[in-house]
Amino acid sequence: MAEKKKYERPIITKHYSGLMNKFGSRAAASPKSEIDGVPIKKLISEFGSPLFVFSERQIRSNQRNALRIFKTRYPKVQFAWSYKTNYLNAICSVFHQEGSWAEVVSEFEYDKARRLGVKGENIIFNGPHKSKEALLKAINEKAKIHIDHFDELYEIIEITTEMNLKANVAIRVNMDTGIYPKWDRFGFNYENGEAWQAIKRILSNKNLKLIGLHTHIGTYMMSADAYKIAASKLVNLARGIKDEFDLLLEYIDMGGGFASHNTLLGQYLPAEEVVPSIEQFADAISTGLFELPLKIDEMPLLILETGRALIDDAGYLLTTVLANKRLSTGQRAIIVDAGVNLLFTSFWYKHRISPAQESGIHVEDAALFGPLCMNIDCLSDGILLPALKKGEHLVIEYVGAYDTTQWMQFIMMRPNVVMVMEDGTVELIRKSEDLDYLLDREVIPDNLKSVK
C-alpha cells in the first residue's frame, strides 16, 4: 500500500522579486533523517529529546585527516586534544586512541586527563590560572607546563628550588600577526621583548628545562597567513635560543584556532566558502617553520592544539518542536525543547538546522525559540524552515565544540549525550541529569529545613 501523502499546512509567502541574488533561491531544507545510518526517530525514542549525538566515525576521520595533512607537510607532528573544547570522557578517549596528547587549561581538566590514563609527559598545561598544588603535581608528573606570565614563572622557580625538582616548561608567546582582535592577554609579548626576557630567565635557572615555545593567535581564524607570521616569529625566537644558548628546542606549539565550517552570525557567505581549509593552515605553518635553518632531523616537533575544527561537525543536537506560534510582526515562531542553555554557541553561530523528517517544499522565515522562560532564549531570529508540526524533530548541526562544555543547567536539566559508534551501535556517553543529581550538591541549613 502506498504511504499516505503528508499533509502540508498552507502558508502565505510574500514574493520578493527584487531581492534575488546570484546564489539563487534557497531550496527547501533537505531532511537530515539519520546520523551515520541511525535514524533520528530511533535515537529520540530511545534516549529522549533533546539529545546530543556524536559520531565516532566523524571524529576519527577528522583527526586522521588533520594528522595526514600536517604530517605530509612537516616531518614531526603531534596533536594535543584541547580539553576545553569538549571534555566528555568518551570524546577525549577517541582522540587519545588516535594518538593525541591532552591540552588542558585548568587543574580539573588536568586531573580528568590523568584519570583517562594520559601520561603526565603527554599533557600540555596551558592557561593563566594554575594553582601551586596543580603546578607541583604537573612538575612531578613531568607534564609540559606552558608559562603564561612572570608571576607563574617565579612560582615555578620557587617550587622547583624549594623541593629540588626539575620542570619541563615552555612559554606562551603573544604577538602581532596582523589580525584583529590581537590576543595579547595570554603569554609574553614578542614585539616588546618580554618573551625573550622570559626565555633568558628560564635558561638561567638550572631547575627549569625550556623544551618549547607556544603561541595561540586567536580563535576561529579566517586567515591562514597569520599562522605563517606567527610561525616565523617563533622561529626567530628558536633561532635566537640556538645561537645564543646552543639549545635545540624540542617543540613549537602553534596552538589551535582553525575555523570550523560553522557560519558566524553576520557572515554573508557560508563558512565552506570563506574559511581556509586545514591544508591552507598547514601550508602556512610549515612554510613558517621551515625558515628555521636546521637539518631535517633537528627540526622541532610541531604541536597543534586544534579543537573546534576536529569536533564541531561530529556533534548534533536533536530537538523536538513544542509549538508553532505567530509573532506580532507576522513572523512565524517555532518553540523547540533545546534552548541557549544547551546551545551556547548560538550567540555567535548561524547553525545549520534541518528537519529530521520529510517535509513540504515550501519554506517560511521563522524565529526559533528554546524552552526557557527567558527572553534571551532565541536560537535564531530568522531561519527558513518548512512547516513543522508539534512533536516533529529538528537536527542542529555543528555543535560538537564548546556546547557540551559551556552548557548550563538553567531552568532545564542537561540531557543525554550519546555516541554513534563506528560499528553502528549507539552508546550513552553522559546520562541526563535529574533532580537528585542537582540536589546532591545542595545543603540546607538546619533552621531552614521545615517548610510550613
Binding site: S61, F70, K71, T72, R73, E141, E250
Partner: protein, 709 residues
Amino acid sequence: MMKYFIDSILYSYSQIFFCNRRWFGVTALAATFLAPKIGAMALCGVVISNLTAHVLRFDKEKIKSGFYGFNGILFGAATTFYFELDLFLIFIALIFMVITFIVAAVLENYLATAFNLPGLSLPFIITLYIFVIFLTNYNHIVPALTTASDLKFYEYLPQSIKYYFQSFALILFQPNITSGILIALGILFFSRVLFLLSVAAFALNYFFLHFILPDQAETLIIISGFNSILTAFALGGSLIIPSRKSFVLVIISILMVVIITGFFYRILLTWYLPILVLPFNFVVLFTIYSLKFRSEYTDLVLLYFKPGSPEENYYYHHMRTSRFERFKHTFAELPFFGEWFVSQGFDGKYTHKEEWKYAWDFVVTDRDLKEYSNEGTSLTDYYCFRLPVAAPIEGEVVKVIDGIPSNKVGEVNISQNWGNTVILKHNEELYSTLSHLEANSIKVKEGNKIKRGEIIGACGNSGRSPYPHLHFQFQLTDKLGDKTYKFPFAQFLKKENNRYHLKTFNYPEENDIVQNVEIHKTVKEFFNFKLGSELKFQFEQDGEVRTENWEVKINLNNEFYIESSSGDIAYFYISDKIFYFTSYNGKKNSALYYFYLIAHQVPMCYHQNLYWEDDYSIAQLPAGVIRYLSEIFLMYKSLINAKGSLNFEEKSDHSNDIIFSNSIEIKGGFPFSFYRKNFSGKVILNDESKISEFNFSRNGKVIFRAKQL
C-alpha cells in the same frame, strides 16, 4: 712474554690443521711426543722459527697466530722422520730451520700480497727438498727407518681405519696410530664439519685410488690420504664457507689429489724426494686462485675475513649476509614527509617495466585507502597534490625541468613523459629523479647544493601522469629518463595494521604504506657512541657487585668497537639512524656480551608500536651441546637458527623512560625440532640518555642485570 711465546708455539701446531685453538695445539704437541725424538725436533723447529721472526721484529700478532711457526714444526719433524740424526745433522737441521723461516716469510707474504693466497706448507716443502738434496753431498747420512710402535694395540681395527688414523698422524710425521687417534679426536671437538670432511675425504680417496691407480693403491694410500684430508679441510670449510657446493668441490678435488699424487710420485721418484703435502698445496692453491676469476659470485664463497673454525666462518658469513646483504654506504631516505602509499612498485603493472622497473610511484591515501576526497575529478581532490617532496640524500641539483602544465585528471602528456623533474647527484654513480612535479613549484636551481630532507618542490600531475603522484627512481647518470638503478632506502617504517615494521636497506613494495624514521633525542644520545666516550656499568655476579668500563674505539679498518675493561670487544656500526652490533669477541658472561645480544640492532627513534627483527649467529648465543651435534649437518644446512624480535614498550606512567625489549628464539629444524630456547632482554633508557637497567633472561628468568653508573 711467556704467554706470548707459548701461544705462538701452540697456535703454530694448531695452524697445520686450519685450527686456531690453544688446546688443539696442546693435543697436537702431545701427539708428536709419542715419538719423542720427532716431537723434540718439531718443537725445536717452531721455537727457532718464531725466535728468528721475533728477533727480526716481524709482526707480533702474526708470530702469535702461528703464521711463521708451523713450517718449522713440519721441517723439524720431517728431518727426524727421514734421517738418523747425529750432532752434525742436528746442526745442519737447525740452520735449515732458520732457512725455513726465511722461505716462509717470503712465500707466505708474497702469495698473500700478490695473489691473495695462503702460503700453506709450500715453504716447508721447498726447504725440505733443498735439505734432502743438500745432504746427498755427504756419504755418512743414514736414513731413518721410522715405524709404528703401537700397531699391536690396534690389530683388531680394520686396515682402512688404521690407514685413516695413520694419515692423520703422518701429517705431523708420526708413525703411530695413537697420534692419529688423538688428532682425529681433537678435530672432532674443534669442528664437526672438519671431522666429517676428514672421514669423507679419506673414504673418497680410498675409492678413487683403487679405481684409478689400483697398482699403486697400497703404496700411496696414506700419502694421498693425508693430502686428501688437508685438501678437504681447506676447500670444504676452512678457506671456503662450508656449503653443499663446497662439499661437491671437495669430491672433485680429491679426484685431482689422487691424480696429482700419482704424477708427483713418478716425478719425485727419480730424485728420491718424498711427495709430502705437495699434492695438497698444488690442488688447493690452483683451485682457490681459479675461483677468484669467476664473473659472478655464487654461494661457493671464499673466506673474506679472519678465519675461525668452519662453523664460525659459516655463522659469521650467514649472519652478515642476512643482516647486511643489501647494505650501502649511502643512506637514502624516502623523499617526502609523513605516510605515503606505494601505488606502483618494482616491476609494476603500468610503467615500471624493463629498464625502468626499479622505480616507485607514491601517493597519499586516507583511512579507506582512497587517494582523493570528494569525487576525485579535480586535482585538488587528491591528497598528495602540491605536497612537498624532499631530497632523499644530500647532493647537488644537476637538472631542473619546469614549466610543464598539470594534466587534468585522467589525461596524460606523452610528449613530455617525465613532466616537471628534478635530478639530484649524490655521488659519481648515484643520482635520483623526482618526476611529475607541479609546475613552478620547484624551489631549487641547477648547481644548488642541498641537504637531505630539504624541500625541492611539490607533487603534481605533469607529464605522463593521469592523476597526481610522485615518481621516484635512482639511476646511474644525470640523463632524463635513464634506466633505473636498484638501490635501497637505508631505513623506513612500513605500516602493518596498527603496527610499524622497521625495514633497513630495503625497497618499499607495491601497496605498502611507508614513512621515514623520526630521530628520538634520548635514544640517539645514548646509541650515537662517540669515539673515546666511556661508559661504566655495575652488576651483580657470583654474589658480588662488579663494575665494567667500556670505551669506544676505532681500529685501522675504520671499524668502531667497544672495548670493555675485561678485554672483550663488540664491533658496531651506525648507519645514520640505526645502531648495529656486528660481532663480538670475548667472554660470554660480561655486561658487554649481554648488551651485545640485547641491543643487536636499535633504531634511534621511539614509536610505541614499532617492531623490528634481527638474525643471530647461534655461535654467539648460549645454545648448548645440541648446537655442536647439529653442526654435523652444517654442510647441508644450518638446522638450528636464532632470530630476535625487538620492539619498543609503552612508556609507563610518570616516567620518560624508553624501554625496548628483545626476545631471541633459538629453534631447531628436523631432526632437532624438539630443540627450542628462549632468551629475552630489556633495555631501560632514562630521559638523561643513561641506561637505568638492562637485563637478560633465560626462559623467563633474569640471569643478568646491570645498570649504568
